[in-house]
Each structure stands twice: as C-alpha cells, then as structure tokens.
Point group: C2
Chain length 428, copies 2
C-alpha cells in the first residue's frame, strides 16, 4: 500500500513541490545530534540509522505568527515555553527549533531546557530567545539531554539553506514512515504567494489537536491576528477532525509563520484576500491531516468519513468523528469487511441530535461504491463488490443525515496488528 495521499485540486490554488521552504525567505536544516534517553549520541535509534533528530527553520524576516497547542492538562515543557514566547512578542517569531526522540515532558528541568533551545538558537541568529519557538516530541518523562543540541547548534545554523526542507521534515519523524510536506501557490492582491508545511504523526493523535508537531510557513503578508483567526477556523475542520487512536498528546503544536515577503497588501481584516488566505491554509492543513491519517501507526488505509445533511456543522463533525474513532469499524476496514452495522452503531452513540431512522450510508473508493444502509436499516449489496471497494487504500464513508445542509469530514485509519506492535514496546 502507498502512504502517499491523493491530492484534491482546488481552483486558483496550485500544488508545488517542497514544504516549509516553498515560500520566499525560509531557510531550513536538519541533522542527527544524538538525542535519546541515555543522552548519548550512538547509532542506536529505533530507526537503526542516524536519522535526523533536530531541525531549525528560520525566516529572513520577522514573522507574524499564531499557534495552537495541546489541550491536555499535561503540557510538554516546549508547549509552555512557546506559549510564553508568543505572548511576550505579541505573535512574532523568526525561528522554530524542533527535535524528536525526547518530548521533554514531565521533567523537573523541562522548561529551563526548552528555553535553552531557544537561547542557543537566538544567540547564533542574533535575535531574542523569545522570537524562537520550540517543539519537542518523543518519549515522555525522561530527562532531556541538552548537550547534543549544544554540540550541534553551530553546525545546524551554519547549514541552513533555502532548500533543506526535507532535512527538517525528516528530523521530526518518530514512528512516521514517510515525511509529510505540502506546498501551494495562490494569488493575493495580484501578488503570487506561497505556503508550505511539514507535519509529523503518527500515534497519539486525536481530535482537539491532531498531532505533535506541525509548521506552516508563508510569504503572504497578513497580521498575527488574522493568521490566528484563519488558524482557529481551519483547525476545527482539519486537525481536530483527525483520529488515529483516540489518545491526545501532551506536546501537540501547530504554528503558522507569515513573513510578508510576497509583498501583497497586508491582510488585516476579513474580505476576499482573507478568504483566499484561509482557503490556502485549509488546503495545506487538510492535506497534512490526510497524510497523518494515512500514515497513522500501523495503518494500511486512509478513511475519510463525509457527513452531509446535518442540522449544523457541530453535529456533522461529531458524527464523522464517531465513525472514524470506532475501533471495531477500524478493524473491519483493516479486514476489508463491509460490516456497516458497526458504522451505524458508531453513528448511534455519537452525542448529537438526529433521527437514526433517516440515515443513509455508503462506502466507496476508486474501485466503486456500495450503498449499505438506507433509512437506518441494512440493504442488500454485493459482498464481492464490497471486498473490491474496501481493498483500496483510500476509503470514503458517506453518511447522509437528511436533516439539513451542514456537512463535515473526518479522517482516520484502520486499526491493525502493527499498531499494537508499534505501541506494545515503544520505549525500548
């Protein structure tokens, strides 16, 4: 199966190669510095090679920046530090340093060390530590070794380049099997703007902040307030509609940095330009969301549940998520088993108000479509066709509530042997 997602086209937006370096003025670098629980720098990462574990993204100009973080009461130290920094600068940042292999969470000296990451970066770049964001992912509750970062920070900064987005994207991978990048081009006020992103999953992913680490860069000129607004509107219908396993990380971070170098008239209020920016952000975030789902731990299939005909968007979201989160349904999809009763069951326990007796359900993929449920009751379908449809690696579950006009999507993946294997002994 392929971990590549099928990209949906949107008029007026063009996909580009690359990721966070696609917009003007963003340099990146990533390298292996040897962060792991022992603090050494040997060649014994779970990936078997010296996979990059540290990266840095720097903008040539100060960025108007907004970010959303985990809602878990247990917040990783880097989350607290980044929140403080963004508050201190009123939404400005010029650099973002990230590492994998250690989440620096639930450690007594966590905040101090997370801030030290910002200091080390700022010193080399000649900016303030508060202008640096930090994100960390990996095992929780093991002392974070700052020494490997201290040792490699010069090399990391010296190696920054306008085309090393891949080195950065690889550095934040943990159990991800593929790097996750996307970039689009669009026009605002007659100026060509670009937006790029990188993300990492792939377990501990659930609505209310999807994954651990994500960065969106853009050269579009826009105020921090409007970035924040577009981010909040989009996170609800993208990352927060993603579930891999129902767990919610302590370190979830998604930052959007806008350096304004496209020189469009600055977006500072709602209107056509803002809508274009918001749509670009939607495309980028939605694509990363799908990549995260498809590369969910152990996943063999991307599941997209599309709920239509809801009374309101919240109902649509609730129902779509309920289907995507059902372990029984996820197992059935792994087995390419059209056990639609489990879909209806999951719709039934969604905490939302609708009449189950009006619900229609169908399953589709590029191999075809089967209608499995009409007015809340099962209907005949060909098991042979069902098997063919469900053997593809991108499955759509369409749910019609027949009560209104609102709709929503949610994304997830199947539950497989490998999910259990990956998580049965992650620490060792």
């Amino acid at each position: 199966m392929s971990k590549e997602i099928t990209k949906v086209q949107f008029e007026g937006f063009k996909y580009l190669e690359g990721g966070v370096c696609a917009p003007q003025g963003f340099k990146a670098n990533g390298l292996y510095c040897g962060i792991k629980k022992t603090g050494g720098d040997g060649n014994d990462s779970p990936f078997g090679t010296k996979k990059n574990d540290l990266c840095l993204i720097v903008s040539d100009k100060m960025c108007n920046t907004a970010a959303v973080f985990t809602q878990n009461k247990v917040k990783g130290a880097p989350v607290t530090v980044s929140q403080k920094n963004l508050k201190a600068t009123s939404g400005k940042a010029q650099a973002f340093i990230l590492n994998s292999m250690n989440a620096n969470t639930c450690n007594a000296d966590g905040e101090q060390k997370a801030f030290r990451m910002c200091e080390l970066t700022a010193e080399r770049l000649g900016i303030k530590p508060e202008e640096v964001l930090v994100a960390q992912t990996g095992v929780i509750g093991q002392v974070f070794p700052i020494e490997p970062v201290e040792k490699k920070i010069d090399e990391l900064v010296l190696g920054l380049a306008y085309d090393k987005n891949e080195e950065a994207a690889k550095a934040i991978m943990t159990t991800d099997t593929v790097k996750k990048e996307v970039a689009v081009e669009f026009t605002v006020g007659g100026k060509v703007c670009r937006m790029g992103a990188m993300g990492k999953g792939s377990g501990m992913i659930h609505p209310n902040m999807a994954t651990t680490l994500n960065l969106v860069t853009t050269d579009c000129s826009i105020t921090s307030e409007m970035v924040e607004k577009a981010l909040r509107e989009n996170v609800k219908i993208t990352y927060n509609c993603l579930s891999v396993d129902g767990d919610q990380s302590t370190n979830d971070t998604l930052a959007v940095m806008a350096n304004g170098m496209a020189e469009n008239p600055q977006i500072d209020s709602e209107g056509e330009d803002y809508e274009t920016f918001k749509q670009a952000l939607y495309i980028v975030m939605m694509n990363i969301t799908k990549m995260l789902a498809k590369d969910g731990e152990g996943a063999t299939k991307l599941l997209e549940c599309r709920v239509k005909g809801a009374q309101d968007q919240d109902t649509a979201i609730t129902v779509a998520k309920s289907v995507i989160c059902s372990p029984l349904f996820k197992c059935a999809m792994f087995g390419a088993d059209a056990n639609w009763g489990r879909i209806l069951c999951a719709i039934g326990y969604a905490e939302a108000d609708f009449d189950i007796n009006k619900v229609n359900v169908s399953l589709s993929s590029k191999a075809g479509q089967i209608d499995v449920c009409e007015n809340g009751a099962g209907i005949e379908f060909s098991e042979e066709t069902a098997k063919k449809v469900l053997s593809e690696d991108e499955i759509f579950i369409d749910v019609e509530l027949a009560e209104g006009d609102a709709e929503a999507k949610a994304w997830g993946c199947d539950l497989t042997y490998d999910y259990v294997k990956i998580n049965g002994d992650y620490r060792s």
Copy 2:
C-alpha cells in the same frame, strides 16, 4: 494466562458455585438451534462446533424486575421489545429468552421477531408474552431467522432444570472465551438469600452500558422500584466503568429479576436491608464486570485503575475511565512496558477538574509495586521490577489526585494483536 479473575472477599457475603440458578426457584436451559446469518442449522458456527446459541431462564414465581439498556440511538429490536414489556407489566417478568449469533438489529422485521420470541416462550409456559424479556447478540443488520427458535422452543422449555445455568451461560457467548457466572449468599431479615448472574462480552464494550447481555437473578424479596434503584446506583460504578474498546453496543441489556422466594420481609424502602441487597448486587455486578474486562477481545491482562483523593466521585470515575480507555496505555500493558507517561497523558486529557501537578501514580500486581510518578513528574524506578510487576495478568493502576476523599475504579484490558484479528473479519 488465566481468564479467571481473582475474587475479592466481602464480609457477610459468601461466594457460591454456579450462576443464575443459585437462588431458589430459577430454572435454566440452553441449546444449539442453528441461528446464523443463513438461517440454516448446519455445523458451521465460527466456534467450529454446535455451540449453544439459545437459552431460557424461568422463575417459578413472578419476579419484580428492573433493567438497564444501551444508550445508543441505534437500539436492537429486542431492547425495544423488552423495554415495552417491562413498561406494560410495571416491572414484572417471569422468563428471559436470549440468543447469540444474530443481534436482530437494523432489520425491518426486527421488533416483530423479537416479540415472537416472547410469544413462543409465553405459550409454552402459560404466561403472557409481556412477562418475557428478550435479548439478542451477534451480527447487526442481518435478518433474524425465527424458524430455528420455533423448531427448538419445545425442547428448550422441556429441558429446563434448576441446575442448567451453565448451558444458558454458554448460549450467550459470542467471542467470549469463557462463560461468565457468579453467585453470592447473604442474609436479609434473618433469611438466607442468594443472588446469581451470568454475562457475556467481549468486544464493543464501553462505559454507558458495558456489555451486551447480562442477567442477575435473586430470591431476595424486594419491590421493583428498589431493584431499579439498586441497579442504577451500581451500574454507574461497575458496568459503566468498564471499557474494552470504546465501542458501545446497540443491544446492551442488564436485567435483575427478584422472585422473593427467600421469604425475607420485602425490601420496599432504604435502610439496612436495602444496603445489604445493594451490596450483594455490587459484588455480583463488579465481578462480572471484571470477568468481562479480563476476557475482552484478545485481552491477555485485566487492568484495574483505582483513583483516590478526588474532589467528587464523578471526577474519580472520569479519570479512571480515561486511563483504562487509552489505546496507547493498553498497548503498553500488552508489552509489559511501564510507559507511565501514557498514564499521565490519559489523566491529563480526562475532562475533569484537578491539578495535574499533585498527581501520584503507581503500578502493582501480585508480583509487587512500583511508584512511577510523583507530583506529576516521573521518578526513578527499577525497570526490572516493572517488567516483573507488569508480566502478571491482573494489573492495578493507582492514581492519587490528593484533592479530596472521593474514589472510583474502572476496569479494562490490554490491546493486543488478537483484538485486531478477531475484529478484522468478524462477519465471515
């Protein structure tokens, strides 16, 4: 590993052998009648043998009865029928007929056939159809074949006996690997009373009604209202604190039938006798809950999370359930991996109000105990001891919130390869 649970002793209550036939005046029978999707009666059940798929429990006298059912919007036809029957009789029932292999849910003729089950039973017993409860479990959305039941109902009734509780308990098993029965003896008003139960799991089990089918019988004399009250108080802290996989069945049913044959002064209000009855019901329900958890689909370990020091019981329940429901934690337990960060993470996303920085966590089993987290931060522990502790098949997770006096328990199981295997192709 053993699927048998370790029974906790309670003063004044004695465990007995047996199940629903332990109290006076309850007969049972179970047999294979050939219910499955094709409606035939061949020897091709997924169990490879003619496993019992139909059972009947009958009391010599009319029972004061209360029941709780699934909260899923999609309700199986037998749930609707049993609810109507109990309403029609104002909480009386004398018989309970149950089957596995087909849930009779999401079928156009479901209610009609579920009621037909009651009629068939009532005709033979000379009682009203409304005095019969019905419960069904198995695959959803396939037409229920009533013919095998019609063919075997005489044999089922004629074979009723005071000692065939096992035949009945086996008949409701689906993916359960062991039958689930428990019985206790206690004294009310100087009279010896008995209470027995049977239950079945083992997937699609989640808070808000734990499992599909459960019956508690007792010869204690008590009004329907007080049975109902005791049932509701106990279900909150037993079945509703159980999670196998987060899915919630459409057919969950738990009925308590009290025939009064112990001849104690009838319990009709709160007081010492009611407390004794309620405690007996707690013991029975808690033990079945633990059996359901330990025999969860694919499970190799029973997990019991005990939360203490909460501001109130709801907080304690919410936190305990959150730990038990975390797929990442469940996988870690499968791997005997003391990844306590995942426990803290799950505590952190519990929707309840407490200070995460005061939380202490320890893990224990009969092999010993390890303290893993103090005041919300990790502490040193021996990985060797941890492995020993977590290699047992009953693991306790103790969480101290240090904010009050309330406490609660929740039960679950590890997430394993076999869960995925069992559910990847359940229908075929």
